[in-house]
Symmetry: C2
Subunit: 189 residues, 2 copies
Amino acid sequence: MSEIDTVRKDFVELWGSMGHFWGISPTTARIYSWLLSRSEPADTDEIMEGLELSRGAVSMACRELREWHLILPERVSGSRRIAYRPATDLEKVIRNIVEIRKRREWDPILESLREWIPQLQTDGSSEAAVFRQRLEDLESLIARSDSMVKVFLRGGVVGKLGLKMLVKAAHDEATRADTAESQNRETRN
Amino acid sequence: MSEIDTVRKDFVELWGSMGHFWGISPTTARIYSWLLSRSEPADTDEIMEGLELSRGAVSMACRELREWHLILPERVSGSRRIAYRPATDLEKVIRNIVEIRKRREWDPILESLREWIPQLQTDGSSEAAVFRQRLEDLESLIARSDSMVKVFLRGGVVGKLGLKMLVKAAHDEATRADTAESQNRETRN
DNA sequence: TTGTTGTTTCAAAATTTATTGAAAGTTCTA
DNA sequence: TAGAACTTTCAATAAATTTTGAAACAACAA
């Protein structure tokens, strides 16, 4: 087994076990990493053979990868067959993932919190007051994180160049959010 | 059912379903959120009753929560019983989680990548060259993200105040990392 | 030391999540 | 329109993860 095959195998395995972290299934993650390890795009049959997966599994996983914009389908010339090419702008890839997860997972939390807080105000008990305070702190923290994520999604992120922009933009965003929000949290911290 | 109980129920349920996102089991997440919703600490029996869990499940979950520093055990006076109080500095809570997950999940990836890249250099094929280039990009991205996370872990993060520090510190960190690293990436994007 | 109170452990059971594979569906060519 | 070449779907199956519960263990008081 040549060097590249050894590394490929380990890489695919590691990536597969990380799928959980990104919120995608192991198989889906393995397919993406396997495509990344190849210089040419691959079609369904090649993926099936390369990773020992069923046709259905490959189809499902590729659908997910397409939704996340992690792979690009291409027609193989002179055939109806579709081959997949992995997206290689990794920063964009991460942005895609963060954006989708934010929408699916964070946004609903903020909505719920904003619904619950006023509901707790109708309950006069001190227990409710403590609970409400904690939910408010949580709302505030998530809202501030949300601002940072929005900035992240707009610009180049992790690079040094993007950093100054990040600060300024995050500040603007936070200021805007705070102004729109109720003002009674100014003195806390 | 009073207002607080309704909200508590929904909150616990939501938090439980989010456990996956944080990499903790639903029960563990539910216990933490249930504690957050109460003004007083709770002992094993109260948690068991409040969330309809077995003794063993509560013990396991609380052990995990303790490891993550999400709850603090306290002796109930005049008894051997232990009651748990939730950590309420949520920013610190998030830092704890990020720190542990970084160590467990990210650090090993960087290590592996740094092992694989030189291995691929012994393979002269163009396929290996493409693969190696992608791994290098990945290494670079993760290393830069890592710098930001380190900064995040050191300071107040999400608040407006911490932001300026974040920029400066991230810049310093990145500069330091780059200098220590091999220099052959300077011109890349 | 013994009994009581409370906690932890871990193999087995339940639940959840991921994968398969065969059948149904789609698109293209002739 | 018929047939070939692929792709997608989804109920059934397999795998992984979570939870249980009873037994073992630990701490303390008498």
